[in-house]
């Protein structure tokens, strides 16, 4: 009987890991009976698996250290636990545009991305976005609004919330996880103000290039602002004039993080006062 003629390496790995259904398992066993070299290979793989479990398995038998047990006894855990705060290993790129759209660099958690690349990317994308057409969104449910933010939280290990831009007369119109122009994924929030101007916010987890304060520049005729805050990096492009760009950037930085607001708040047009707020909070 040759019903094991189609047995391949994937079947052998499935057999080693006990992932085959009974008929296929029997077929593999019959195949191994006919192929002693493969049978020896499988036997060694299984022994190696046993060795791995012998090395690390006992860790799960150890008593739970007090600091881990106490996680379940203390009330609400710290918002930014020490490890993330110390390492600051990941950044979210925020791309903001009036009209629509931006793109970001690739979402490659292990890849390094530099702010010049991102600034170039966001400014070019913003320039092109003016030609894009976006359907109006109906007011999204809170669950739908939260979903893209939750996605970023999972990837970045940072607590975020939907930014409230009502101070700048912008209302949230839509929220989704979307593909950027380079086919990576980003969380996207869409806003519109009472004059019909639009803002689109995209957030991507990235590795950071630490930058201590908000900086603005004109790039490809687009106003770009960028800054780092702990494990996050923000890059924002807009059609707004510089002072408004700075004010909105500051408001975004303050409202997207679940942190107590500062005692005073900058006003539109007061660039020097606004600047004073752009030091990154520790």
């Amino acid at each position: 009987m040759d019903d094991y003629d189609d047995i391949n390496d994937l079947d052998l790995h499935g057999y080693i890991d006990d992932r085959l259904d009974p008929p296929r398992r029997r077929a593999v066993e019959a195949y191994l009976d006919q192929h002693p070299d493969k049978a020896e290979w499988v036997r060694r793989c299984r022994l190696q698996s046993e060795a791995m479990r012998a090395i690390y398995g006992p860790v799960a038998e150890e008593p739970l250290p007090g600091r881990l047990a106490s996680v379940f006894k203390s009330g609400r855990p710290a918002r930014f636990p020490g490890l993330v705060r110390r390492m600051a290993p990941l950044a979210a790129t925020l791309l903001l545009g009036c009209g629509l759209g931006w793109s970001a660099g690739e979402f490659l958690p292990r890849a390094e991305a530099t702010t010049p690349v991102l600034r170039e990317s966001v400014s070019l994308a913003h320039t092109e976005a003016a030609r894009a057409i976006v359907a109006d969104h109906t007011a999204p449910s809170s669950e739908l609004v939260q979903r893209p933010i939750n996605w970023v939280e999972q990837a970045s290990m940072v607590d975020l919330q939907v930014p409230d831009l009502s101070r700048y007369r912008f209302s949230l119109m839509g929220s989704q996880v979307t593909a950027t122009t380079n086919r990576s994924q980003a969380a996207q929030l869409s806003y519109r103000d009472d004059q019909g101007r639009r803002l689109t916010l995209q957030i991507q987890p990235r590795l950071p290039e630490p930058d201590p304060e908000i900086v603005t520049e004109k790039r490809n005729d687009v106003r770009v602002a960028y800054w780092a805050d702990g494990p996050l990096m923000y890059v924002m492009a807009s059609d707004l004039p510089r002072d408004e760009t700075l004010a909105v950037a500051h408001g975004l930085n303050r409202s997207i993080r679940k942190m107590p607001p500062p005692e005073t708040e900058a006003e539109f047009g007061l660039a020097e006062r606004v600047r004073s707020f752009f030091q990154i909070r520790g």
């Binding site: 890991d17 022994l47 636990p81």
Partner: protein
């Protein structure tokens, strides 16, 4: 402690096992687990109850590990059997055999080792491992295959069962 917290707490020992295998350092592994547990408690509403809570927790743990890996790039770790409190000698392997196996695991590329340990140590299905690692199932199979080929080429055939010796 509500039901979800209780379910999360039950997985803590297994999370420590995988974390120790990932970073090969007791304190760093517990840092990782603490970060994972705190985050899981904060985000427990995100668990959809459509899959196992174990897979969800391992995914959080792996994400935290990846996000912190860059920081530790200049501090490579190797497994020390002495660092693992084996309450009693492993039944079917000698100490030297386990040391050899640990060294061979250390030499595997990270992605292969992380995948192999999820399947072999944590007993995840290929589909569950793919979800934790956020890669296609085919990638999991490919990494497993390459990892095992590498371990075989390291001439670990000497790993053999040994007679059980009672150590007082």
């Amino acid at each position: 402690m509500d039901e979800t917290e209780w379910l999360i707490a039950r997985e803590a020992p297994g999370l420590r096992r995988y974390a120790r295998a990932l970073v090969r350092d007791r304190d760093r592994a517990d840092d990782l687990v603490q970060e994972c547990l705190e985050r899981a408690l904060r985000k427990q509403h995100l668990w959809q109850r459509t899959g196992s809570i174990r897979g969800w927790l391992l995914k959080i743990l792996y994400n935290v590990h990846i996000n912190l890996a860059k920081h530790h790039q200049n501090a490579p770790q190797t497994t020390s059997i002495e660092d693992i409190s084996i309450a009693q000698p492993a039944r079917q392997f000698g100490h030297l055999q386990l040391q050899e196996m640990a060294r061979a695991l250390d030499e595997l590329p990270d992605l292969q080792r992380e995948t192999l340990l999820l399947v072999v140590l944590e007993g995840l299905s290929y589909e569950e491992a793919a979800c934790v690692l956020d890669v296609p199932v085919g990638t999991v199979r490919s990494r497993l295959s390459r990892a095992r080929e590498t371990l075989q080429s390291l001439n670990l055939a000497e790993v053999r069962p040994v007679a059980l010796r009672r150590v007082k």
